[in-house]
């Protein structure tokens, strides 16, 4: 039971990463590797700030800003520097590793005994692991609502059009470069926030905590899509969060089977690879329909 609650809590907190990447990966059609650096950057920024006695809420906001700056760098490299998207992200990601070491001064900082967003009176009064569930629900609800509203504005529609067909977007006077930069900034801001929350939840920041984050983010997105099929845009955002929770439950099951935490990156990649192959397998073997009959409203 406890493990299940923990998995749901982790799924909710990590869903932020998936939602952030959704903006770039699915809407802008931009595979943004920056997140591998932005996630620990957010963590490093928040944890270092908290360790220096800064209010945890302010520290978390600083993490968001740091993420946005990282997104800005990738955006400028791609739009102004004309560097291919994948490489632009890898360059920023690699550079951030050094930045993170500069920020933290060492490779690991503990928050033991410090005040965090999870150490308030209300949070500590909750049963074990429920703090991350409560925090996750609040943050995901706010972010999802903001995203739904944003995408339904004239600006948001221009943003979607940029990723969907940039030639058309330009011919309608949409500044596509600006859209890509804004998208990368918002996306990485969310990833920075995710890193800050996870670090506070874990009680530490580690220089290597970013390894594999892009796979985790993609897994949330792809699992959501594979599990729920054809959806409207708003439903898709919700599916990312559910996908993130499902992913945590899969990990939980795998760990129960006797794998160790050291195998996590291997398992993550295998899970993602399988999910990405499902549409292919489906057409060859027709295995998906029976699994999905229960969850899909029509067909």
């Amino acid at each position: 039971m406890n493990l299940m609650v923990s998995a749901i809590g982790q799924g909710l907190l990590w869903a932020l990463l998936g939602l952030g990447l959704y903006l770039t990966f699915r809407i802008l059609d931009f595979c943004d590797m920056t997140v591998e650096g932005t996630f620990p950057l957010g963590a490093a920024t928040a944890v270092t700030a908290i360790a220096h006695g800064i209010n945890p809420l302010l520290a978390t906001l600083l993490a968001v800003v740091s993420g946005m700056l990282a997104g800005l760098v990738t955006g400028l490299l791609y739009t102004k520097g004309k560097i291919p998207s994948l490489l632009a992200g890898i360059l920023t990601m690699t550079a951030i590793y050094s930045v993170n070491l500069r920020i933290m001064g060492k490779s690991n900082i503990s928050l033991l005994g410090k005040r965090t967003l999870f150490s308030g009176h209300f949070m500590t009064s909750l049963p074990q692991y429920f703090d991350s569930v409560v925090m996750g629900v609040i943050v995901i609800a706010i972010i999802t609502i903001l995203m739904v509203l944003f995408l339904a504005t004239d600006y948001g529609q221009a943003f979607i059009a940029t990723g969907d067909n940039s030639t058309m977007a330009k011919s309608l006077g949409i500044h596509t470069d600006k859209m890509v930069i804004v998208g990368l900034m918002v996306s990485n801001g969310m990833v920075g926030l995710c890193g800050a929350l996870i670090a506070q939840n874990n009680g530490y920041a580690d220089i290597n905590m970013g390894i594999g984050t892009i796979v985790i983010a993609l897994a949330s997105i792809i699992i959501g899509e594979v599990a729920f099929g054809e959806l409207t845009l708003n439903q898709r955002l919700l599916a990312v969060t559910l996908g993130s929770i499902i992913y945590r439950i899969i990990l939980l099951v795998v760990l129960q089977l006797g794998f160790s935490a050291n195998d996590l990156n291997l398992i993550s990649s295998i899970v993602l690879a399988i999910c990405m192959m499902i549409p292919q397998l489906e057409s060859n073997l027709q295995i998906r329909k029976p699994i999905l009959k229960g969850v899909r409203p029509h067909e």
Binding site: T153, G156, Q157, T167, M168, S171, L172
Partner: protein, 254 residues
């Protein structure tokens, strides 16, 4: 009437500058486009028709010469800036619409062509009745597919939608780059007919590239023959009315 809305003065474009492959595509184009002109453009492959559109549209800079819109020099303005007064329809049905967005959403995007887009709610429902009525003017069932993603439309419907999007907010200049070339003959004629009707009714100023000599003669009040980066002929009014496909065909020989 008859005041130039757009003027090209000795426009030249060079590609692969500074390399051994340096080629001049447009070799000094002088063109006065008057308000209300519907100009059809014919020419061989490589004559510079698309380059001409790209120079007017702003996604290619003119290396020499000047482009003047309503008395303002716009030679150095960007593609995005020019969309305030210019709209275009591409040859490839895939280029003109956003495939994952619905027909209505695409139209909504086009209502704000060249304008700043704000963080205000998009107001799709409020515009639905107007969009549906507009779509019905294309006579191809587009009005029944308002909530369909455009990726699921037929090529003809997509091009009709592209055309509607280009004319939804009245442009000073409309560029049609072989916008019916990818369609079957019947669909192509339907769209050309609708195109002509809209341009005539609204007195739009339009340039249309076509490889179909009969269409070039049938539509518009002016016909330009482009050859080897230069304007070889510019038929207007009665001269154009007398033209036959055979006359035009001579330009394509040799």
């Amino acid at each position: 009437m008859n005041k130039p809305i757009l003027e090209l003065k000795d426009v030249k474009t060079i590609v692969n500058k500074g390399t051994s492959n340096e080629t001049t595509i447009l070799k000094g184009i002088n063109l006065k486009i008057n308000e209300g002109d519907f100009i059809t453009i014919v020419g061989t492959n490589g004559a510079g028709k698309s380059t001409l559109f790209n120079v007017i549209g702003g996604n290619l800079r003119a290396d020499f010469g000047e482009i003047v819109h309503n008395g303002h020099d716009i030679t150095k303005t960007t593609e995005e800036q020019r969309t305030t007064f210019l709209a275009r329809v591409f040859q490839d049905p895939k280029l003109g619409t956003a495939p994952r967005m619905t027909v209505a959403e695409n139209l909504l995007l086009a209502t704000k062509r060249g304008e700043r887009r704000h963080l205000t709610l998009r107001k799709l429902k409020e515009n639905m009745a107007r969009f549906t009525k507009l779509a019905a003017t294309m006579n191809n069932g587009l009005e029944n597919r308002m909530a369909t993603a455009t990726g699921a439309l037929s090529g003809g419907q997509r091009q009709a939608l592209s055309f509607l999007m280009a004319t939804l907010k009245r442009p000073d200049i409309l560029l049609l780059d072989e916008h019916t070339a990818a369609l079957d003959p019947h669909t192509s004629q339907n769209l050309l007919h609708a195109t002509n009707e809209r341009i005539t009714q609204d007195h739009l100023t339009a340039l249309m590239i076509t490889h179909h000599l009969e269409d070039a003669i049938k539509y518009g009040n002016r016909l330009i023959v482009l050859k080897d980066g230069q304007i070889k002929a510019d038929y207007q009014g009665a001269d154009k009315a007398r033209l036959t496909a055979k006359d035009l065909y001579e330009y394509f020989e040799s």
